[in-house]
């Protein structure tokens, strides 16, 4: 089997949904910005040699409908001969595309695929604009397929006995780590500054165009405290534990990378950042979707011929503090290895982009800290988990 390499895993900064800097930025434009930066970072590559563009998106409709991958490719001025496909595995879509690209390269079906994800939660709501219930599900005793994400976190919190205090502390630490990372400029290398513009009503029927460059994650709050988090009300269940403060934030963002073969590396004289090791998905009961990684992580490690002990760094998506803690405790993972620069509770969770975004953050972190094996893990709505393992190439 051939080897698949990861080149230039880059991302946009993550904006707060609805009131943040990316609130009116279209997800196809945003994804195109990141693709353009990747092309620019690899001037030796002939864009016409790129085989395809895989873009993950959790709610692929409206501004991110119409096969957003194809539009992102066209908008980034890739040759029109390069195709595009949108992939949906909800929150793990951005990791799924990287894995699919790697498998295609490994199988000899492609030499270079741009893979990642994009999502605007500002423009397209979770569940999309028109959710429609199914009689088969709702009248067939399968209602829990439709259980809201927050309520699945309540179930995990109960089943795995994760206390409110622990959830709030975990969240507080996520904010602290993220704020410190931003202050130290740790994300500078992985972030692609993107142009943003707002068209606001001006005087006499005119339109004022306010332009700027967006390059810093907006979510982290250095000033939050355990007390402040402890004072928040349960957001999903009366008397519950899961609050807006110990859940991931709704966000906008995009992240992409180049997945290439050894031949491609040689042909264009590239310096790959990592080797794709393995990837696995596993299903779990939808009512506790957040525990998905408990099944997926060991499976991915097994496929890569590794054990937990081999891992030096983990980006475990913090959909909810409750599920993140349940996963860490159940798998007995050393918390020090996990999310050293903060997670989605602080930095945000642009659904379909997050898997690729965490890959970018993982690899750049491994580069800084000279680590070898790292893992990205996601929990997925309707009860799934995914994990991808990477080897950093020094």
């Amino acid at each position: 089997m051939r080897t698949a390499y990861i080149v230039s895993p880059l991302r946009s900064a993550v904006g707060k949904a609805f009131r943040g800097s990316l609130r009116s930025k279209r997800p196809d434009d945003l994804c195109a910005d990141v693709i353009r930066a990747i092309i620019k970072a690899n001037p030796s590559v002939d864009p016409a040699a790129i085989d395809d563009v895989f873009v993950g998106c959790a709610m692929p409709e409206a501004e991110q409908g119409m096969n957003v991958a194809r539009f992102a490719g066209l908008l980034s001025d890739l040759p029109q001969s390069v195709g595009g496909v949108t992939v949906n595995r909800f929150c793990s879509s951005g990791l799924q595309t990287i894995a699919m690209a790697a498998f295609q390269v490994q199988a000899g079906g492609a030499e270079c695929i741009l893979a990642g994800g994009t999502e605007s939660m500002s423009l397209v709501p979770m569940m999309g604009h028109k959710p429609v219930g199914s009689r088969t599900i709702l009248k067939g005793g399968r209602e829990d397929y439709y259980l809201g994400m927050g309520l699945t976190a309540e179930n995990v919190s109960k089943d795995y006995k994760v206390s409110r205090e622990d959830q709030d502390r975990f969240s507080f630490e996520s904010h602290q780590k993220a704020a410190k990372a931003i202050e130290s400029g740790l994300f500078k290398e992985e972030i692609v500054p993107v142009p943003v513009s707002f068209r606001v009503p001006g005087a006499n029927g005119s339109v004022q165009i306010q332009e700027g460059l967006f390059d810093t994650d907006e979510g982290p709050r250095a000033d939050t405290s355990i007390e402040a988090l402890g004072g928040l009300r349960a957001a999903f269940k009366t008397g519950g534990f899961v609050t807006a403060g110990n859940s991931s934030q709704m966000s906008d963002g995009a992240a992409m990378c180049m997945v290439v073969s050894e031949d491609f590396v040689k042909r264009f004289n590239l310096k790959p950042m990592a080797r794709f090791v393995s990837f696995a998905v596993a299903g779990v009961p939808p009512r506790v979707m957040g525990i998905g990684p408990i099944e997926a992580i060991p499976r991915a490690l097994r496929l890569g011929g590794l054990t937990l002990k081999d891992l030096e760094r983990i980006e475990l998506n913090e959909a909810f503090a409750a599920q993140a803690l349940a996963v860490l405790r159940h798998l007995d993972i050393d918390p020090k290895l996990v999310n050293p620069t903060g997670g989605a509770i602080a930095l945000g969770h642009p659904l379909g982009a997050t898997g690729a975004k965490l890959t970018s953050t993982l690899l750049h972190g491994m580069k800084r800290d000279r680590q070898k094996y790292g893992l990205v893990s996601m929990c997925i709505g309707t009860g799934m988990g995914a994990a991808g393992v990477f080897e950093y190439l020094s």
């Binding site: 199914s134 009689r135 709702l138 259980l147």
Partner: protein, 808 residues
């Protein structure tokens, strides 16, 4: 009426000024609210953000912001805020040039008032009314530096707090006024702001506060003499005496003990001739509370009462004990007559019954009534120009008493009361002699209920004066009557009246105007009658509530006897009547006001149009008793949702149905007429009128206009494309999550699905075509299914027993 008031300036953005502005805004008037200019932005960054660049007008902007938080809510809806334009006295004084009325509400200090009036006189159009909302200062003194042109148009308009809810507005004319201008503004206020006007003389505290505060002060004295506790006095002076349940001390706590003391001291200081002057010095314990800062609600609810927690952490309301300066658990005294009195619904009969007793409670009631009647008689000439009606209306509209002192005196037996007063050695003015009749016809008689007072006795002038029938008053009967010649049809539950000019009025008169068989029967006949003999139909009444809903007792009775066929035919008939009104060849206008719930709300929905009173608490609240609106209410909201979606191409009706679902499924009730429209209960043909008194008149005029224009009945809905089962399942998806999140009970979700079933047009394929009739069939089917459920039966029983919904 020649005045056109389209733009008003309210000067002074205190709590009163801002609330007056809010009321004007709700009436559709563009209102400038000005206050002192600020030199710098507020220091608090949050406030600075609210104020933005307009920091010079910080006071007015923050006063407007504060309207969102005040209780009871001064805003009919936040949407009316756009009608309030903040500004300041320096930069925005030129807006006065565009205003049709200027109301001064600045601080109650003569020098401040004087300089503000001067500023106003220099900046307004020449002939517009300029009024002051002073509650005590002399108008003549306030305007003494200004010329006769100013005096012509300057008078007092004294709003009562809270101005949205209190009906009273005292007008205090200036001796040099242009009388026509005053009358024109009064008429405009009545018709547009819904206020009741009382003319008062320029005397200290004017009419209502003078009498109302006196009543409280004499309560203090008799409470002390008779050794009654605070909570006992409140038990005596609330509903028992036909007054608000906040009675004496709870009212004082709400108003603020300091405010109350200030108003009473005002009398003591400025009315040296007042025969009861000494009573206006607040008792020592009141001074103690004020000195300590225990002013009532605004001081963390410590005043005459104190909110505290008991051992179990439950909130308890303790009562003050003046004798040893402590708060203790409430222990209202009980009186032998209390149970008997409770059973007497007529105020006058109840008071007569109580006054036949002689314990401390009955004595207290007698003495405070006696003193208040005597005091009103003594001041009749001085404050009210000899008009008993002015004092009675003032106290009824300003303090929410069911009857004023003169009405009470006459109805309780003038001579008997007089004799008892004389026995007690009460001083009275010389004109008070046996045989006086303050009003003709006498209060509490059938004649009075037909016409209201047609003449009043002008005390010191010792003569009767005619009272013109107000143009808007219809005196609609509140029970079945044979005295009313206007009655065309009638039974125990409802009457059809000929209200002239070819318009008929359907009036309910059951308890709480609950919809029962009688009302449905009469409506059936009424529709036929109106078809043949009238131009159109007003549906409205003069009661406190339009209708509290369907008669649940009847439904529960039928369920208990397993007579589901009877329920089916009951619903069928109700639906039939609603459809007859909707599709009648004549126009109908309903007049929702007060409570408009359940079946009552459905009644109002099926009229061609609605004129909704400002204070309207309307909702389709059937799910509270485990049922759904099945008198066409669910169907009407569904039709409207589909209709809105049909205005666009390929528009999904679901978001519109969701709005309807929230209204019915969550039993949402409006807090104002405007909100009833904005939340989607009423459609585009509904309009709000703040003037409750003019509602029937406006409805009648509307009928005549519609009939004149050639009214066309709506076209029947036969081809309705519904969302069907996928829609129901989408609602189920949300309901399931709400149950899991413990926001609703599983039975709430069960009932919710039934609501969704009707809204979505049944468990059919999406896009199926159904008729309006099919939706009505669904309503009936679902209603009967729910009637068979034990939990629905429990909900109905609980509601009948406690008046509150059961969440089972």
């Amino acid at each position: 009426m020649s005045l056109k008031i389209r733009r008003v300036a309210v000067l002074g953005a205190g709590v009163m000024g801002a609330q007056i502005a809010a009321h004007l805004a709700a009436a559709g008037v563009r209102t400038h609210l000005l206050d002192l200019p600020s030199e710098a932005p507020p220091k608090d960054p949050k406030l600075a953000k609210v104020v933005g660049k307009r920091f010079r007008s910080t006071n007015a902007i923050l006063a407007i912001e504060n309207l969102k938080r005040l209780k009871p809510a001064p805003l009919a809806s936040e949407s009316i805020l756009a009608n309030i334009l903040p500004g300041n006295f320096d930069d925005d004084i030129s807006v006065l040039q565009e205003c049709d009325w200027v109301i001064e509400v600045v601080a109650e200090r003569l020098d401040i008032k004087k300089s503000m009036l001067k500023k106003i006189s220099e900046n307004t159009k020449p002939h517009i009314p300029i009024t002051t909302n002073t509650s005590g200062l002399s108008l003549v003194k306030m305007s003494e530096d200004l010329d006769e042109y100013f005096h012509r148009r300057f008078f007092g308009t004294h709003f009562f707090n809270p101005p949205r809810y209190m009906k009273l507005l005292e007008i205090i004319p200036h001796p040099a006024n242009d009388k026509k201008l005053v009358q024109d503004l009064a008429a405009w206020i009545e018709q547009n702001l819904g206020k009741g006007i009382v003319y008062a003389k320029d005397t200290i505290n004017f009419i209502a506060n003078r009498i109302g505060v006196f009543n409280m002060m004499c309560s203090f004295k008799h409470m002390d003499d008779l050794k009654l506790s605070i909570e006992t006095v409140d038990a005596l002076t609330g509903k028992t005496m036909g007054r608000p349940s906040s009675a004496t001390f709870r009212t004082m706590d709400v108003v603020g003990i300091d405010t109350f003391a200030h108003v009473s001291k005002n009398v003591h200081q400025y009315a040296p001739q007042d025969p009861y002057r000494e009573l206006f010095t607040p008792p020592k314990w009141i001074e103690t509370l004020i000195a300590r800062g225990s002013l009532g609600q605004k001081s963390n609810s410590v005043g005459a009462y104190k909110k505290a927690s008991d051992d179990k952490g439950q909130t308890v309301i303790l009562a003050y004990r003046p004798e040893n300066d402590t708060y203790v658990e409430q222990a209202p005294a009980s009186f032998a007559w209390a149970d008997g009195a409770k059973k007497i619904s007529n105020l006058y009969d109840r008071l007569k019954f109580i006054l036949g007793h002689d314990d401390a409670g009955a004595q207290f009631i007698w003495r405070t009534l006696r003193d208040t009647m005597a005091y009103s008689a003594i001041l009749l000439e001085e404050i009210a120009d000899n008009s008993p009606l002015a004092i009675d209306n003032g106290i009824k509209w300003g303090f929410n008493w069911e009857a004023g002192p003169f009405e009470l005196w006459q109805a309780l037996g003038f001579d008997d009361i007089l004799a008892r007063m004389q026995k007690d050695g009460v001083k009275l003015p010389a004109w008070v002699k046996p045989g006086i009749k303050f009003y003709k016809p006498a209060p509490n008689t059938p004649e009075w209920s037909l016409t209201g007072p047609t003449a009043q006795y002008l005390g010191a002038q010792a003569r009767d004066q005619g009272i013109a029938k107000p143009v808007h008053s219809f005196y609609l009967p509140q029970r079945q009557t044979s005295d009313d010649r206007r009655v065309v049809l009638s039974n125990a539950g409802a009457s059809l009246l000929d209200i002239e000019d070819g318009v008929a009025c359907l009036v309910f008169h059951t308890k709480m105007n609950a919809i029962n068989d009688d009302i449905v029967d009469l409506t059936l006949k009424a529709v036929e009658k109106v078809k043949s003999d009238f131009a159109g139909l007003v549906i409205g009444n003069d009661a406190e509530v339009f209708s509290a809903g369907a008669d649940l007792k009847q439904i529960l009775g039928a369920i208990k006897e397993q007579k589901f066929d009877a329920i089916d035919s009951l619903i069928r008939r109700f639906q039939g009547v609603m459809q007859m009104i909707k599709y009648a060849p004549f126009p109908s206008v309903s007049c929702p006001q007060g409570l408009v719930l359940g079946g009552g709300c459905e009644f109002s929905l099926h009229a061609s149009e609605q004129i909704i009173a400002g204070d309207t608490f309307a909702g389709l609240v059937e799910v509270g008793v485990g049922l759904i609106p099945a008198g066409g209410g669910t169907k009407e909201l569904a039709l409207r949702a589909y209709n809105y979606a049909s205005l666009g191409d390929n528009v999904d009706p679901m978001p519109f149905l969701q709005r309807a679902f929230m209204l019915i499924g969550m039993a949402k009730t409006s807090t104002s007429g405007l909100e009833a429209i904005e939340m989607g209960l009423y459609g585009q043909k509904a309009r709000v009128s703040l003037a409750r008194d003019f509602q029937i008149l406006k409805a009648k005029k509307r009928i005549l206009a519609l009939a004149e224009d050639g009214y066309q009945a709506p076209i029947p809905v036969t081809q309705l494309k519904v969302v069907g089962d996928p829609g129901i399942q989408t609602f189920n998806m949300a309901l399931y999550n709400m149950v899991q999140g413990r926001q609703i009970s599983p039975y709430d979700a069960f009932v919710g699905e039934k609501v969704a079933t009707v809204l979505c047009g049944g468990e059919v394929d999406g896009g199926s075509i159904v008729s309006e009739e099919y939706l009505l069939e669904l309503e009936r089917r679902v209603f009967l299914e729910l009637c068979r459920e034990t939990k629905t039966q429990e909900r109905i029983e609980h509601m009948l027993k406690t008046g509150k919904p059961l969440r089972n």
